[in-house]
């Protein structure tokens, strides 16, 4: 547990941090978000004493951080920065080994740990360990940056805008990968960003910071639902209802789909008053398209009327977010969407009313801190 108690930091005449009281809970991903210059980086850097507070104190598991030697403290805290800061003259392996070496681990232990870390961030150890940073792409370098921070298995990790310098597509992938690592390792993470969407995607808890002060500290859903003041409301954006939907998965709203298999029961007589649309699948359940039953009568054979266009744009995964589902409904003018598994087999459907229900249900507990997989995943 990291606790800021009345922490103030003054640079010259500017109060970069002004009377901060904040508790970061164990094994949570806490994101400090705010406009640039709001003092969030200063807050982060005071935890590992790269900056010392002018007033107040910071405790780590109850101990004042100033009681430790700064180097000792820092070696027990992972540190990832925006510009990655990989040492260009050292191999990937040597970069990852930095803190274990400072801690005096023996060689075999370091070597196996390096391999473990590379696998953790999804990079083949034999392929990457002897490369130099100049031979890595931006995304790869940042993965190594994360691996380096986690190498000594620190309980606390500080991340200062770690994914901001990466292009948007890679950023989403890095965020997803980091989330799955975090789900597995459950570190206490303090993460700084100015990107609200990133904060909402990743955070267990968001601290909105403005001019060195903490404006609101809560779970993302709460911040989206009840912004503390007009600043927070403006900062999270007018589309906060949509952003909130991004915190919900499709999975709990999936219900049984009305479907027909293309060869067997497509032309079977349908009772009147049944649903107008039905999903059409192969015998093995693979989604093929949709059928408008009101038109089926006019086609000589029902299969000739099966509409296959749009079906790729309509289908969502159980792990897609409701925001994505809503977007696809709007994009394809459909009131309900087929939900498919990874093999594109129909598993159910979700309708607009489900989405409405979700956004109305203020008290519904969203999946705890587990946001959706990246949007557009198919």
């Amino acid at each position: 547990m990291i606790r800021f108690e009345g922490v103030t930091r003054v640079f010259g005449t500017v109060k970069a941090v002004d009377g901060l009281d904040l508790t970061v809970y164990d094994r949570e991903l806490c994101i400090l978000v705010g406009p640039s210059g709001s003092g969030k980086s200063t807050m982060l850097r005071m935890i590992n004493r790269l900056i010392e507070p002018s007033e107040g104190r910071i405790t780590l598991d109850g101990n004042d951080v100033t009681t430790l030697r700064p180097e000792t403290l820092r070696r027990s805290i992972g540190y990832v920065i925006q510009s990655v800061g990989l040492f260009p003259h050292l191999t990937v392996a040597a970069n990852i080994a930095t803190v274990p070496e400072l801690l005096g681990w023996d060689r075999p232990r370091i070597s196996s740990r390096v391999a473990e870390m590379l696998s953790l961030v999804g990079m083949e150890p034999s392929l990457y360990r002897d490369r130099y940073p100049s031979e890595l792409s931006g995304g790869e370098a940042q993965r190594i940056g994360v691996a380096r921070a986690l190498a000594s298995d620190p309980p606390v990790v500080l991340m200062d805008e770690p994914f901001s310098a990466v292009d948007p597509v890679n950023r989403l992938r890095l965020q997803d990968e980091f989330l799955s690592i975090q789900r597995e390792l459950k570190k206490t993470v303090v993460f700084v960003t100015h990107d609200v969407d990133e904060a909402i995607r990743l955070a267990d808890r968001i601290a909105v910071v403005r001019s060195g002060r903490l404006v609101q500290y809560d779970k993302p859903e709460q911040i989206l639902e009840n912004p503390a003041d007009p600043f927070v409301a403006a900062f999270v954006g007018a589309d906060r209802a949509l952003k909130r939907l991004s915190r919900f998965l499709v999975r709990p709203f999936v219900h049984a789909a009305v479907s027909a298999t293309i060869n067997s029961d497509l032309d079977a007589p349908r009772p009147p008053g049944g649903p107008r649309y039905l999903w059409v699948t192969e015998a093995d359940g693979t989604l093929l398209g949709s059928l408008d039953t009101s038109l089926a009568a006019r086609c000589g054979e029902a299969r000739a009327c099966v509409s296959e266009e749009n079906i790729r744009e309509m289908a969502v995964l159980p792990d897609s977010s409701l925001k994505e589902a809503l977007s696809r409904m709007i994009g394809t003018s459909a009131r309900s969407l087929p939900v498919v598994d990874g093999q594109f087999r129909l598993v159910g459907e979700i309708s607009l009313s489900d989405v409405e229900e979700a956004s109305e249900k203020q008290s519904r507990e969203p999946r705890g801190g587990v946001p959706a997989a990246s949007e557009g995943a198919e």
């Binding site: 700064p70 820092r74 920065i81 930095t98 400072l102 100049s134 031979e135």
Partner: protein
């Protein structure tokens, strides 16, 4: 390699460069004076051509050139042409040096006062050979079809061949010097007369320039490191060092004479250490100043170019100041710092020549004596080892810089 490109049609073109160099070589052998023979070291001399001294030798050398030129005209592949040219341009200087020794021995071997020096024919031949060899081993420029015919033979496996002249020439020269083959050449005559003084002054020269680089290095690195920490210090220090750099060395010695002389008379202890207005003390001070600038500047640049993010990352991961210095800053800045030392050392070897004027000794002694006495051999006796020392320093430091450059930051060989 270029075999595929070097089709007979393409190779039928004429390799103009080789022809030009061969022509120069032939003219140098047949029409230019090879040696100057003087009855004593200040007298005017008589110029002699190889043709006059030894017609068969002259014809032989000319024929080698002719062979290279013949290949340049004949419809041969670029590869063959390159090989012939390279061989000819190595063979000619080798024979020439051998022959020079023999000629000098024959002409002046008996008379200890007589001076025989190599003349234009010899030097131009050396130049033409060098140019021909470079042209034969150079990479062909990208572009025109004509370029494909140019002898790019030595392009790939040229790593050794390209360094061959750089290694072969000094080796051959050294062997000849040691074997006494060149003893009758006038410079060597001068050398044998002044042998003891020569070695003493060479030692002084090396010691003076070496000490200057050491002192300038220590102070220069300190200035560079401090300049990084304090902007005010940086401006003041670099202002002073830059100004000093613009003062001609002779003037700087003059400027130092007065204060040092005053100090020396005021404090007898300093005097007893050998510090006075002239001599080694002012020389060393001035030389150290000159060595300081490149080292200070490169140290500053070397440290300054290290991205702040690396320091932040290193510190943030728990490196102490010492660890950050040893693991990050020094490895990344050292190549540049040593490149500064390299510049300083080469300059220092040259600058030390001038210190002979204020009685500090060194190889400049011969140069200025030679100038005073109008004895060109004496000038050469001072100049040649200075050049050798500078080249050697440059090569050694170059190797060192490369050795300390971290692998991923090295430029490909």
């Amino acid at each position: 390699m270029n075999e595929r490109l070097a089709t007979p049609a393409a190779a039928a073109g004429v390799d103009l460069r080789t022809i030009v160099f061969a022509a120069i070589g032939i003219i140098a052998v047949l029409a230019l004076p090879f040696v100057r023979v003087r009855p004593n070291r200040v007298a005017d001399g008589v110029l002699q051509l190889i043709v006059q001294l030894d017609p068969p030798a002259a014809v032989g050398l000319a024929l080698i050139w002719l062979a290279a030129a013949g290949c340049a005209v004949a419809p041969l592949s670029a590869q063959v042409r390159g090989r012939v040219t390279a061989a000819a341009s190595l063979l000619v200087p080798f024979l020439m040096i051998l022959y020079a020794g023999a000629v000098c021995r024959r002409l002046g071997g008996s008379d200890p006062i007589a001076r025989i020096s190599l003349s234009t024919g010899f030097w131009i031949t050396m130049l033409a050979s060098y140019a021909a060899f470079i042209s034969a081993s150079a990479r062909p420029a990208a572009g025109g079809p004509q370029d494909a015919t140019r002898p790019g033979v030595l392009r790939r496996r040229s790593a050794i061949l390209r360094r061959l002249p750089a290694v072969a020439v000094p080796v051959v020269l050294a062997a000849m010097l040691l074997s006494g083959l060149l003893d009758p050449v006038s410079v060597m005559r001068e050398f044998s007369v002044q042998k003891n003084v020569f070695f003493a002054e060479t030692g002084t020269h090396a010691a003076l320039s070496g000490a200057a680089v050491l002192i300038g290095g220590v102070i220069g690195v300190a200035i560079g490191v401090l300049a990084l920490r304090r902007a005010v210090f940086r401006r003041v220090a670099f202002f002073i060092v830059n100004i000093v750099q613009t003062i001609p060395s002779l003037a700087l010695f003059g400027l130092l004479i007065l204060p040092l002389a005053a100090l020396s008379t005021r404090f007898p202890l300093l005097h007893s250490w050998g510090i006075s207005g002239i001599g080694r003390a002012p020389a060393l001070i001035a030389l150290s100043f000159y060595a300081m600038l490149p080292i200070a500047r490169n140290t500053y640049t070397g440290l300054e170019q290290i991205p702040a993010s690396l320091r932040d990352a290193g510190k943030g991961m728990g490196m102490t100041h010492g660890q950050l210095l040893a693991r990050v800053e020094v490895p990344l800045a050292l190549p540049l710092i040593l490149a500064g030392v390299r510049t300083a050392a080469v300059q220092s070897v040259g600058n030390t020549v001038v210190t002979a004027l204020i009685g500090a000794g060194g190889l400049g002694v011969f140069i200025f004596q030679g100038l005073g006495q109008f004895a060109s051999d004496m000038i050469l006796l001072g100049t040649l080892p200075v050049i050798a020392m500078a080249v050697l320093t440059d090569m050694l430091m170059g190797g060192l810089v490369r050795a300390v450059t971290p692998k991923p930051l090295r430029e490909p060989a």
